[in-house]
Protein backbone atom coordinates (compact mmCIF):
# COMPACT_ATOMS: atom_id res chain seq x y z
CA UNK A 1 0.00 0.00 0.00
CA UNK A 2 1.44 3.41 -0.91
CA UNK A 3 1.50 6.65 1.10
CA UNK A 4 -1.21 8.53 -0.81
CA UNK A 5 -3.64 5.68 -0.40
CA UNK A 6 -2.84 5.68 3.31
CA UNK A 7 -3.64 9.40 3.49
CA UNK A 8 -6.86 9.15 1.50
CA UNK A 9 -8.24 6.07 3.26
CA UNK A 10 -9.57 7.80 6.42
CA UNK A 11 -11.39 10.37 4.28
CA UNK A 12 -12.92 7.71 2.02
CA UNK A 13 -13.92 5.71 5.08
CA UNK A 14 -15.47 8.79 6.71
CA UNK A 15 -17.45 9.81 3.62
CA UNK A 16 -18.71 6.26 3.11
CA UNK A 17 -19.79 6.12 6.76
CA UNK A 18 -21.63 9.45 6.54
CA UNK A 19 -23.32 8.40 3.29
CA UNK A 20 -24.44 5.13 4.84
CA UNK A 21 -25.72 7.01 7.90
CA UNK A 22 -27.66 9.49 5.76
CA UNK A 23 -29.12 6.68 3.61
CA UNK A 24 -30.18 4.64 6.66
CA UNK A 25 -31.93 7.60 8.27
CA UNK A 26 -33.87 8.20 5.02
CA UNK A 27 -34.62 4.54 4.36
CA UNK A 28 -35.85 3.66 7.87
CA UNK A 29 -37.38 7.08 8.58
CA UNK A 30 -35.47 7.39 11.87
CA UNK A 31 -36.88 10.31 13.85
CA UNK A 32 -34.40 13.18 14.43
CA UNK A 33 -34.72 12.93 18.24
CA UNK A 34 -33.30 9.40 18.06
CA UNK A 35 -30.64 9.84 15.42
CA UNK A 36 -30.49 13.00 13.30
CA UNK A 37 -29.13 12.67 9.76
CA UNK A 38 -25.83 14.33 8.84
CA UNK A 39 -27.73 16.89 6.76
CA UNK A 40 -29.94 17.75 9.75
CA UNK A 41 -26.84 18.21 11.88
CA UNK A 42 -25.30 20.60 9.36
CA UNK A 43 -28.60 22.51 9.21
CA UNK A 44 -28.69 22.75 12.99
CA UNK A 45 -25.16 24.12 12.95
CA UNK A 46 -25.96 26.70 10.25
CA UNK A 47 -29.04 27.94 12.07
CA UNK A 48 -27.13 28.43 15.32
CA UNK A 49 -23.49 28.86 14.38
CA UNK A 50 -23.02 32.09 16.36
CA UNK A 51 -23.73 30.45 19.71
CA UNK A 52 -21.98 27.20 18.82
CA UNK A 53 -18.81 28.91 17.60
CA UNK A 54 -18.71 31.06 20.72
CA UNK A 55 -19.07 27.88 22.79
CA UNK A 56 -16.25 26.24 20.84
CA UNK A 57 -14.04 29.26 21.42
CA UNK A 58 -14.81 29.21 25.13
CA UNK A 59 -13.95 25.50 25.44
CA UNK A 60 -10.78 25.94 23.38
CA UNK A 61 -9.65 28.84 25.58
CA UNK A 62 -9.99 26.67 28.68
CA UNK A 63 -8.21 23.80 26.88
CA UNK A 64 -5.26 25.89 25.75
CA UNK A 65 -4.87 27.57 29.13
CA UNK A 66 -4.92 24.13 30.78
CA UNK A 67 -2.39 22.78 28.29
CA UNK A 68 0.01 25.66 28.96
CA UNK A 69 -0.44 25.20 32.70
CA UNK A 70 0.15 21.45 32.31
CA UNK A 71 3.34 22.01 30.34
CA UNK A 72 4.69 24.48 32.91
CA UNK A 73 3.65 22.40 35.93
CA UNK A 74 4.76 19.09 34.39
CA UNK A 75 8.21 20.36 33.40
CA UNK A 76 8.74 22.17 36.72
CA UNK A 77 7.87 19.07 38.75
CA UNK A 78 9.94 16.81 36.47
CA UNK A 79 12.96 19.10 36.92
CA UNK A 80 12.52 19.07 40.67
CA UNK A 81 12.29 15.28 40.60
CA UNK A 82 15.42 15.01 38.45
CA UNK A 83 17.34 17.41 40.67
CA UNK A 84 16.76 15.65 43.97
CA UNK A 85 15.76 12.18 45.08
CA UNK A 86 13.97 13.71 48.07
CA UNK A 87 11.83 15.84 45.76
CA UNK A 88 11.11 12.76 43.66
CA UNK A 89 10.01 10.81 46.72
CA UNK A 90 7.83 13.71 47.84
CA UNK A 91 6.17 14.42 44.48
CA UNK A 92 5.66 11.05 42.82
CA UNK A 93 2.91 9.55 45.00
CA UNK A 94 0.88 12.77 44.95
CA UNK A 95 1.10 13.05 41.20
CA UNK A 96 -0.18 9.50 40.88
CA UNK A 97 -2.99 10.14 43.37
CA UNK A 98 -4.09 13.22 41.42
CA UNK A 99 -3.89 11.23 38.20
CA UNK A 100 -6.02 8.30 39.37
CA UNK A 101 -8.68 10.40 41.13
CA UNK A 102 -11.56 10.91 38.67
CA UNK A 103 -11.87 14.60 37.99
CA UNK A 104 -15.67 14.28 38.11
CA UNK A 105 -15.26 13.49 41.80
CA UNK A 106 -13.12 16.52 42.68
CA UNK A 107 -14.49 19.05 40.18
CA UNK A 108 -17.45 20.10 42.39
CA UNK A 109 -15.03 20.90 45.23
CA UNK A 110 -12.72 22.85 42.97
CA UNK A 111 -15.64 24.81 41.58
CA UNK A 112 -16.62 25.72 45.13
CA UNK A 113 -13.07 26.59 46.24
CA UNK A 114 -12.00 28.53 43.16
CA UNK A 115 -14.68 31.10 42.81
CA UNK A 116 -13.42 32.51 39.55
CA UNK A 117 -15.29 30.33 36.99
CA UNK A 118 -12.71 30.36 34.18
CA UNK A 119 -9.92 29.57 36.60
CA UNK A 120 -11.91 26.70 38.14
CA UNK A 121 -12.37 25.08 34.73
CA UNK A 122 -8.67 25.50 33.92
CA UNK A 123 -7.67 23.95 37.25
CA UNK A 124 -9.89 20.92 36.60
CA UNK A 125 -8.61 20.45 33.05
CA UNK A 126 -5.00 20.84 34.21
CA UNK A 127 -5.45 18.11 36.83
CA UNK A 128 -6.61 15.80 34.05
CA UNK A 129 -3.91 16.83 31.59
CA UNK A 130 -0.60 17.43 33.38
CA UNK A 131 0.42 13.86 34.15
CA UNK A 132 1.69 12.77 30.71
CA UNK A 133 3.95 15.82 30.47
CA UNK A 134 5.29 15.15 33.97
CA UNK A 135 5.92 11.43 33.57
CA UNK A 136 7.35 11.66 30.06
CA UNK A 137 9.64 14.57 30.87
CA UNK A 138 10.79 12.85 34.07
CA UNK A 139 11.52 9.67 32.08
CA UNK A 140 13.42 11.69 29.47
CA UNK A 141 15.51 13.48 32.08
CA UNK A 142 16.30 10.18 33.81
CA UNK A 143 17.31 8.53 30.53
CA UNK A 144 20.19 10.91 29.79
CA UNK A 145 23.08 8.69 28.61
CA UNK A 146 25.47 8.06 31.52
CA UNK A 147 28.55 8.33 29.30
CA UNK A 148 27.57 11.82 28.22
CA UNK A 149 26.97 12.85 31.82
CA UNK A 150 30.49 11.56 32.62
CA UNK A 151 31.90 13.50 29.69
CA UNK A 152 30.28 16.68 31.00
CA UNK A 153 31.74 16.00 34.45
CA UNK A 154 35.24 15.42 33.06
CA UNK A 155 35.06 18.82 31.43
CA UNK A 156 33.95 20.55 34.58
CA UNK A 157 30.41 21.33 33.42
CA UNK A 158 28.20 23.21 35.86
CA UNK A 159 24.74 21.85 36.75
CA UNK A 160 23.19 24.56 34.63
CA UNK A 161 25.32 23.64 31.61
CA UNK A 162 24.48 19.98 32.02
CA UNK A 163 20.81 20.87 32.18
CA UNK A 164 20.72 23.29 29.25
CA UNK A 165 23.15 21.56 26.89
CA UNK A 166 22.41 17.92 27.66
CA UNK A 167 19.48 16.95 29.85
CA UNK A 168 16.83 19.25 28.38
CA UNK A 169 17.68 18.64 24.70
CA UNK A 170 17.86 14.90 25.38
CA UNK A 171 14.47 14.99 27.12
CA UNK A 172 12.79 17.14 24.45
CA UNK A 173 11.32 14.29 22.36
CA UNK A 174 9.91 12.72 25.55
CA UNK A 175 8.37 16.04 26.63
CA UNK A 176 6.80 16.57 23.20
CA UNK A 177 5.28 13.08 23.15
CA UNK A 178 3.80 13.80 26.59
CA UNK A 179 2.53 17.20 25.49
CA UNK A 180 0.65 15.61 22.60
CA UNK A 181 -1.20 13.26 24.94
CA UNK A 182 -1.84 16.11 27.39
CA UNK A 183 -3.37 18.21 24.58
CA UNK A 184 -6.21 15.79 24.00
CA UNK A 185 -6.59 15.18 27.74
CA UNK A 186 -6.88 18.94 28.35
CA UNK A 187 -9.86 19.03 25.99
CA UNK A 188 -11.44 16.06 27.76
CA UNK A 189 -10.77 17.74 31.11
CA UNK A 190 -12.27 21.03 29.97
CA UNK A 191 -15.44 19.29 28.78
CA UNK A 192 -15.82 17.19 31.93
CA UNK A 193 -15.36 20.28 34.08
CA UNK A 194 -18.00 22.15 32.07
CA UNK A 195 -20.41 19.25 32.52
CA UNK A 196 -19.89 19.26 36.26
CA UNK A 197 -20.23 23.02 36.45
CA UNK A 198 -23.39 22.60 34.35
CA UNK A 199 -25.72 25.54 34.39
CA UNK A 200 -23.85 27.01 37.35
CA UNK A 201 -24.24 30.37 35.65
CA UNK A 202 -20.85 30.80 34.03
CA UNK A 203 -21.09 27.84 31.68
CA UNK A 204 -20.80 28.83 28.06
CA UNK A 205 -18.68 26.07 26.57
CA UNK A 206 -19.60 23.23 24.23
CA UNK A 207 -20.41 20.84 27.06
CA UNK A 208 -22.97 23.29 28.37
CA UNK A 209 -24.51 23.61 24.89
CA UNK A 210 -24.72 19.81 24.71
CA UNK A 211 -26.50 19.65 28.07
CA UNK A 212 -28.81 22.50 27.09
CA UNK A 213 -29.68 20.90 23.73
CA UNK A 214 -30.35 17.64 25.56
CA UNK A 215 -32.84 19.27 27.97
CA UNK A 216 -34.64 20.90 25.05
CA UNK A 217 -34.56 17.73 22.96
CA UNK A 218 -32.73 19.61 20.18
CA UNK A 219 -30.88 16.47 19.20
CA UNK A 220 -29.41 17.72 15.87
CA UNK A 221 -27.97 20.73 17.70
CA UNK A 222 -26.49 18.41 20.30
CA UNK A 223 -24.82 16.42 17.55
CA UNK A 224 -23.53 19.61 15.93
CA UNK A 225 -21.81 20.51 19.22
CA UNK A 226 -20.40 16.99 19.44
CA UNK A 227 -18.99 17.22 15.92
CA UNK A 228 -17.31 20.54 16.78
CA UNK A 229 -15.78 18.89 19.84
CA UNK A 230 -14.43 16.01 17.74
CA UNK A 231 -12.99 18.38 15.18
CA UNK A 232 -11.38 20.47 17.93
CA UNK A 233 -9.72 17.31 19.29
CA UNK A 234 -8.32 16.40 15.88
CA UNK A 235 -7.04 19.93 15.27
CA UNK A 236 -5.34 20.08 18.68
CA UNK A 237 -3.68 16.70 18.10
CA UNK A 238 -2.48 17.67 14.61
CA UNK A 239 -1.29 21.11 15.75
CA UNK A 240 0.78 19.58 18.55
CA UNK A 241 2.21 17.10 16.05
CA UNK A 242 3.32 19.98 13.87
CA UNK A 243 4.70 21.79 16.92
CA UNK A 244 6.76 18.71 17.86
CA UNK A 245 8.13 18.49 14.37
CA UNK A 246 9.16 22.15 14.36
CA UNK A 247 10.71 22.03 17.84
CA UNK A 248 12.81 18.96 17.02
CA UNK A 249 13.91 20.52 13.75
CA UNK A 250 14.95 23.64 15.62
CA UNK A 251 16.93 21.61 18.16
CA UNK A 252 18.63 19.62 15.42
CA UNK A 253 19.56 22.77 13.50
CA UNK A 254 22.25 23.53 16.08
Amino acid sequence: MNKTAERVMPIVFGIAGIALWQASVWKFQVPAYVLPSPIAIVQAYISDYGTLNAALLSTLTVTIAALLASAALGVALALAMAASDLARAAIQPWAVILQVTPVVAIAPLIIIWVNQPFLALVVCATIVAFFPVLSNTAAGLAATPRDLLDLFRLNGATRLQTLMLLRLPAALPFFLAGLRISGTLALVGAVVAEFVAGSGGFASGLAYRILEAGYRLQIPRMFAALVLLGLAGIVIYAALGLFSHLMLRRRDAA
Binding site: D147, L148, D150, L154, N155, A254
Partner: protein, 245 residues
Amino acid sequence: MIKVSGVSKRFPNGTVALDAVTTDIGRGDFVALLGPSGCGKSTLLRLIAGLERPSEGQITWADGAPKPGEIGFVFQDSTLMPWASAAENVFLPLKLRRKSRAATAGDVQAALAQVGLTDFANSKPAALSGGMKMRVSIARALVSRPKLLLMDEPFAALDEFTRHRLQEDLRDLWRRSGNTIIFVTHSIYEAAYLATRVQVMSARPGRISATIACDIADTADRRTAPDYIALVKQLSDMLRLEFST
Protein backbone atom coordinates in the same frame (compact mmCIF):
# COMPACT_ATOMS: atom_id res chain seq x y z
CA MET B 1 53.12 10.42 35.38
CA ILE B 2 50.40 8.51 37.28
CA LYS B 3 50.94 6.17 40.18
CA VAL B 4 48.22 3.71 41.08
CA SER B 5 49.07 2.19 44.44
CA GLY B 6 47.09 -0.57 46.12
CA VAL B 7 43.80 0.58 44.67
CA SER B 8 40.71 -1.46 45.53
CA LYS B 9 37.14 -0.77 44.60
CA ARG B 10 34.16 -2.21 46.38
CA PHE B 11 30.75 -1.06 45.15
CA PRO B 12 27.94 -0.36 47.63
CA ASN B 13 26.26 -3.62 46.58
CA GLY B 14 29.31 -5.54 47.83
CA THR B 15 30.90 -6.32 44.44
CA VAL B 16 34.68 -6.13 44.68
CA ALA B 17 35.63 -4.95 41.20
CA LEU B 18 39.32 -4.29 41.90
CA ASP B 19 41.67 -5.66 44.51
CA ALA B 20 44.95 -3.94 45.35
CA VAL B 21 45.89 -2.82 41.84
CA THR B 22 49.29 -1.19 41.53
CA THR B 23 50.78 0.24 38.37
CA ASP B 24 52.70 3.16 36.95
CA ILE B 25 51.87 5.05 33.79
CA GLY B 26 54.72 7.04 32.26
CA ARG B 27 54.40 10.05 29.96
CA GLY B 28 54.04 8.92 26.35
CA ASP B 29 53.10 5.34 27.26
CA PHE B 30 50.51 3.49 25.24
CA VAL B 31 49.19 0.99 27.78
CA ALA B 32 46.68 -1.70 26.89
CA LEU B 33 44.55 -3.11 29.72
CA LEU B 34 43.67 -6.59 28.52
CA GLY B 35 41.23 -8.90 30.24
CA PRO B 36 37.93 -10.76 30.03
CA SER B 37 34.75 -8.78 30.51
CA GLY B 38 33.80 -8.12 34.10
CA CYS B 39 37.39 -8.11 35.35
CA GLY B 40 37.26 -4.42 36.29
CA LYS B 41 38.90 -2.72 33.30
CA SER B 42 36.25 -0.01 33.00
CA THR B 43 36.25 0.49 36.74
CA LEU B 44 40.01 1.08 36.76
CA LEU B 45 39.66 3.57 33.93
CA ARG B 46 36.88 5.45 35.71
CA LEU B 47 38.98 5.57 38.90
CA ILE B 48 41.93 7.04 37.00
CA ALA B 49 39.58 9.57 35.38
CA GLY B 50 38.31 10.58 38.81
CA LEU B 51 34.74 9.54 37.96
CA GLU B 52 34.79 7.12 40.91
CA ARG B 53 36.71 7.12 44.19
CA PRO B 54 38.87 4.17 45.25
CA SER B 55 37.71 2.33 48.36
CA GLU B 56 41.35 1.82 49.31
CA GLY B 57 44.71 2.97 47.96
CA GLN B 58 45.67 6.07 46.04
CA ILE B 59 46.01 7.42 42.56
CA THR B 60 48.59 10.19 42.42
CA TRP B 61 49.58 12.46 39.57
CA ALA B 62 53.19 13.60 39.25
CA ASP B 63 52.19 17.16 38.37
CA GLY B 64 49.02 17.58 40.38
CA ALA B 65 45.45 16.36 39.92
CA PRO B 66 44.12 16.93 36.40
CA LYS B 67 42.00 19.99 35.74
CA PRO B 68 38.79 19.90 33.67
CA GLY B 69 39.64 18.94 30.08
CA GLU B 70 43.01 17.42 30.92
CA ILE B 71 41.60 13.92 30.58
CA GLY B 72 40.13 12.82 27.27
CA PHE B 73 37.70 9.91 27.48
CA VAL B 74 36.51 7.75 24.59
CA PHE B 75 33.65 5.38 25.39
CA GLN B 76 32.67 2.12 23.73
CA ASP B 77 29.74 3.85 22.06
CA SER B 78 30.56 7.09 20.33
CA THR B 79 28.00 8.87 22.58
CA LEU B 80 27.64 11.89 20.33
CA MET B 81 24.78 14.28 20.86
CA PRO B 82 22.49 13.32 17.97
CA TRP B 83 21.16 16.85 17.55
CA ALA B 84 24.56 18.44 17.00
CA SER B 85 26.91 18.35 14.00
CA ALA B 86 30.33 16.67 14.11
CA ALA B 87 32.07 20.01 14.63
CA GLU B 88 29.58 21.02 17.31
CA ASN B 89 30.15 17.71 19.13
CA VAL B 90 33.92 18.21 18.97
CA PHE B 91 33.56 21.78 20.22
CA LEU B 92 31.61 20.63 23.32
CA PRO B 93 34.54 20.18 25.77
CA LEU B 94 35.74 23.69 24.91
CA LYS B 95 32.25 25.13 25.14
CA LEU B 96 31.85 23.66 28.62
CA ARG B 97 34.94 25.54 29.67
CA ARG B 98 33.52 28.74 28.19
CA LYS B 99 35.97 28.98 25.32
CA SER B 100 34.73 31.15 22.50
CA ARG B 101 33.73 29.41 19.31
CA ALA B 102 35.60 31.86 17.14
CA ALA B 103 38.86 31.59 19.09
CA THR B 104 38.84 27.79 19.03
CA ALA B 105 37.56 27.14 15.50
CA GLY B 106 41.11 26.22 14.51
CA ASP B 107 41.40 23.68 17.34
CA VAL B 108 38.13 22.04 16.32
CA GLN B 109 39.27 21.86 12.71
CA ALA B 110 42.65 20.47 13.69
CA ALA B 111 41.03 17.77 15.84
CA LEU B 112 38.73 16.77 12.98
CA ALA B 113 41.71 16.73 10.60
CA GLN B 114 43.64 14.46 12.98
CA VAL B 115 40.94 11.82 12.57
CA GLY B 116 40.49 12.45 8.86
CA LEU B 117 37.04 14.02 9.01
CA THR B 118 37.69 17.51 7.68
CA ASP B 119 34.96 17.10 5.06
CA PHE B 120 32.32 15.98 7.53
CA ALA B 121 32.43 18.87 10.01
CA ASN B 122 28.81 19.80 9.35
CA SER B 123 27.35 16.29 9.21
CA LYS B 124 24.95 15.05 11.86
CA PRO B 125 25.84 11.77 13.61
CA ALA B 126 22.89 10.04 11.91
CA ALA B 127 24.57 10.67 8.55
CA LEU B 128 27.90 9.12 9.64
CA SER B 129 28.98 5.46 9.69
CA GLY B 130 29.91 3.73 12.95
CA GLY B 131 33.61 4.19 12.25
CA MET B 132 33.19 7.87 11.47
CA LYS B 133 31.16 8.45 14.62
CA MET B 134 33.98 6.87 16.62
CA ARG B 135 36.43 9.18 14.86
CA VAL B 136 34.33 12.19 15.92
CA SER B 137 34.34 10.84 19.45
CA ILE B 138 38.15 10.60 19.36
CA ALA B 139 38.43 14.12 17.96
CA ARG B 140 36.20 15.33 20.81
CA ALA B 141 38.60 13.72 23.30
CA LEU B 142 41.64 15.26 21.60
CA VAL B 143 40.35 18.79 21.12
CA SER B 144 41.26 19.97 24.60
CA ARG B 145 44.83 18.59 24.22
CA PRO B 146 44.47 16.23 27.19
CA LYS B 147 47.45 15.03 29.22
CA LEU B 148 45.94 11.57 29.22
CA LEU B 149 43.66 9.79 26.80
CA LEU B 150 41.48 7.02 28.26
CA MET B 151 39.76 4.68 25.81
CA ASP B 152 37.27 2.03 26.94
CA GLU B 153 36.92 -0.66 24.25
CA PRO B 154 36.34 2.04 21.66
CA PHE B 155 36.53 -0.26 18.63
CA ALA B 156 34.73 -3.31 20.05
CA ALA B 157 31.45 -2.57 18.31
CA LEU B 158 32.95 -1.90 14.85
CA ASP B 159 33.31 -4.31 11.95
CA GLU B 160 36.76 -5.76 11.37
CA PHE B 161 37.78 -3.64 8.37
CA THR B 162 36.83 -0.43 10.13
CA ARG B 163 38.50 -1.63 13.30
CA HIS B 164 41.79 -2.27 11.53
CA ARG B 165 41.74 1.15 9.89
CA LEU B 166 41.04 2.86 13.18
CA GLN B 167 43.74 0.89 14.96
CA GLU B 168 46.27 1.89 12.33
CA ASP B 169 45.22 5.53 12.47
CA LEU B 170 45.24 5.60 16.27
CA ARG B 171 48.76 4.21 16.33
CA ASP B 172 49.92 6.80 13.79
CA LEU B 173 48.26 9.53 15.81
CA TRP B 174 49.99 8.36 18.99
CA ARG B 175 53.41 8.23 17.27
CA ARG B 176 52.99 11.72 15.87
CA SER B 177 51.53 13.34 18.98
CA GLY B 178 53.29 11.52 21.80
CA ASN B 179 50.02 11.31 23.77
CA THR B 180 49.74 9.15 26.85
CA ILE B 181 47.05 6.55 26.24
CA ILE B 182 45.39 3.87 28.36
CA PHE B 183 43.40 1.61 26.09
CA VAL B 184 40.99 -1.01 27.44
CA THR B 185 40.33 -4.04 25.28
CA HIS B 186 39.42 -7.70 25.48
CA SER B 187 41.18 -8.47 22.20
CA ILE B 188 44.68 -9.95 22.34
CA TYR B 189 45.35 -8.88 18.74
CA GLU B 190 44.32 -5.32 19.40
CA ALA B 191 46.41 -5.06 22.57
CA ALA B 192 49.48 -6.53 20.84
CA TYR B 193 49.05 -4.33 17.79
CA LEU B 194 48.59 -1.01 19.58
CA ALA B 195 50.40 -0.89 22.85
CA THR B 196 53.93 -0.38 24.10
CA ARG B 197 52.90 -2.27 27.23
CA VAL B 198 50.14 -4.78 27.86
CA GLN B 199 48.75 -5.24 31.35
CA VAL B 200 46.82 -8.47 31.66
CA MET B 201 43.99 -8.37 34.16
CA SER B 202 42.28 -11.30 35.82
CA ALA B 203 38.78 -11.40 37.23
CA ARG B 204 37.18 -11.85 40.62
CA PRO B 205 38.66 -9.97 42.18
CA GLY B 206 40.11 -7.80 39.43
CA ARG B 207 43.86 -7.41 39.57
CA ILE B 208 46.77 -6.99 37.22
CA SER B 209 48.27 -10.44 36.75
CA ALA B 210 51.06 -9.66 34.29
CA THR B 211 52.78 -6.77 32.57
CA ILE B 212 54.40 -7.34 29.20
CA ALA B 213 56.48 -4.83 27.31
CA CYS B 214 56.03 -4.91 23.56
CA ASP B 215 58.94 -3.91 21.43
CA ILE B 216 57.79 -4.57 17.95
CA ALA B 217 59.74 -2.70 15.31
CA ASP B 218 57.46 -0.26 13.48
CA THR B 219 57.30 -1.85 10.08
CA ALA B 220 54.68 -1.32 7.42
CA ASP B 221 53.35 -4.86 7.81
CA ARG B 222 53.12 -4.89 11.56
CA ARG B 223 50.27 -7.44 11.61
CA THR B 224 52.49 -10.10 10.06
CA ALA B 225 55.75 -9.13 11.77
CA PRO B 226 57.31 -12.13 13.60
CA ASP B 227 57.60 -10.10 16.84
CA TYR B 228 53.87 -9.32 16.70
CA ILE B 229 52.95 -12.94 16.14
CA ALA B 230 55.22 -14.05 18.95
CA LEU B 231 53.59 -11.50 21.26
CA VAL B 232 50.09 -12.66 20.33
CA LYS B 233 51.14 -16.22 21.09
CA GLN B 234 52.64 -15.22 24.42
CA LEU B 235 49.49 -13.37 25.44
CA SER B 236 47.22 -16.25 24.32
CA ASP B 237 49.22 -18.76 26.32
CA MET B 238 49.07 -16.51 29.32
CA LEU B 239 45.30 -16.06 29.11
CA ARG B 240 44.76 -19.77 28.50
CA LEU B 241 46.73 -20.48 31.66
CA GLU B 242 44.71 -17.85 33.45
CA PHE B 243 41.44 -19.60 32.62
CA SER B 244 42.54 -23.19 33.12
CA THR B 245 43.18 -22.51 36.78
